[in-house]
């Protein structure tokens, strides 16, 4: 169980290997990598040229650790890893890594998707896109609230 908030890039292969290293009870590792897309901007022929991620140091780590802990209470997990970058990133570069190890694939998939959905709505990161017209803050998506809402317990 570990969380990193960093400017540096990460090595997905090494992170995945670490989730089962030295143990023989992991049957499933589900992972997610989020990347910067060069989306076309509405109303112009231009695309996103870069993205700057701001965060709330201290709260970010606390929020991610809480999400990780909640996943560990809901599913049988043998390891989890969350890495989220901040600073300036270019299209194609990695933003976020979530990896989950479990005996079984059902738990690994569910926990990985849960962590991403909660991260999208609860972790204090904000994206600003660089465009030829200047910086533009990204609006929160209602679809992300809906995705996180799926996991509410009745």
């Amino acid at each position: 169980m570990s969380v990193s908030v960093q400017e540096a890039d990460f090595d997905t292969g090494a992170e995945i290997a670490a989730l089962s290293a030295g143990r023989d009870d992991v049957g499933a590792v589900a992972t997610f990598v989020g990347l910067v897309r060069a989306d076309k901007l509405a109303g112009s022929g231009d695309s996103v040229q870069a993205m700057t991620l701001e965060h709330y140091p201290g709260m970010t780590e606390k929020a991610l650790a809480a999400i990780e802990a909640e996943a560990g209470q809901r599913w049988t997990l043998l390891g989890t890893r969350i890495i989220h970058r901040y600073g300036r990133l270019l299209p194609g570069q990695q933003i976020v890594f979530v990896g989950v190890a479990s005996p079984h694939r059902g738990d690994a998939f569910a926990a990985c998707e849960f962590i991403m959905d909660y991260l999208k709505t609860r972790a204090p990161f904000w994206k600003k896109e660089d465009t030829p017209q200047g910086g533009q803050w990204v609006d929160a998506r209602e679809a992300d609230d809906a995705a996180a809402g799926r996991w509410a317990q009745g």
Binding site: H55, Y56, A123, P124, F125, D139, A140
Partner: protein
């Protein structure tokens, strides 16, 4: 009562402040009351007014407007998050 208030992202840019230290009147004891107090400064501070989509945290936990604010708390206001 003395608290620290932080602002992030578009809200930080609009207000022109990333943080401030405030001495609060005794009758302001919730996040919602603090927000109204700040919005009442007028001008750019109306970005914190009712109907604006602003989230809050107290001591680095996301909270609703009813959450209490106590001496030495760290309170943050920011737009909905867009990480991941």
């Amino acid at each position: 009562m003395s608290i620290k208030v932080l602002y992030f992202a578009s809200l930080r840019e609009t207000l022109g402040y990333s943080h401030e230290t405030l001495t609060l009147p005794a009758d302001i004891s919730s996040v919602g009351a603090l927000r109204s107090h700040l919005a009442s400064r007028g001008g750019v501070w109306e970005a914190l007014g009712e109907g604006r989509n602003v989230r809050a945290a107290v001591n680095q936990d996301m909270v609703g407007p009813e959450a209490p604010v106590a001496d030495r708390d760290e309170v943050a206001f920011f737009p909905p998050v867009t990480g991941g």
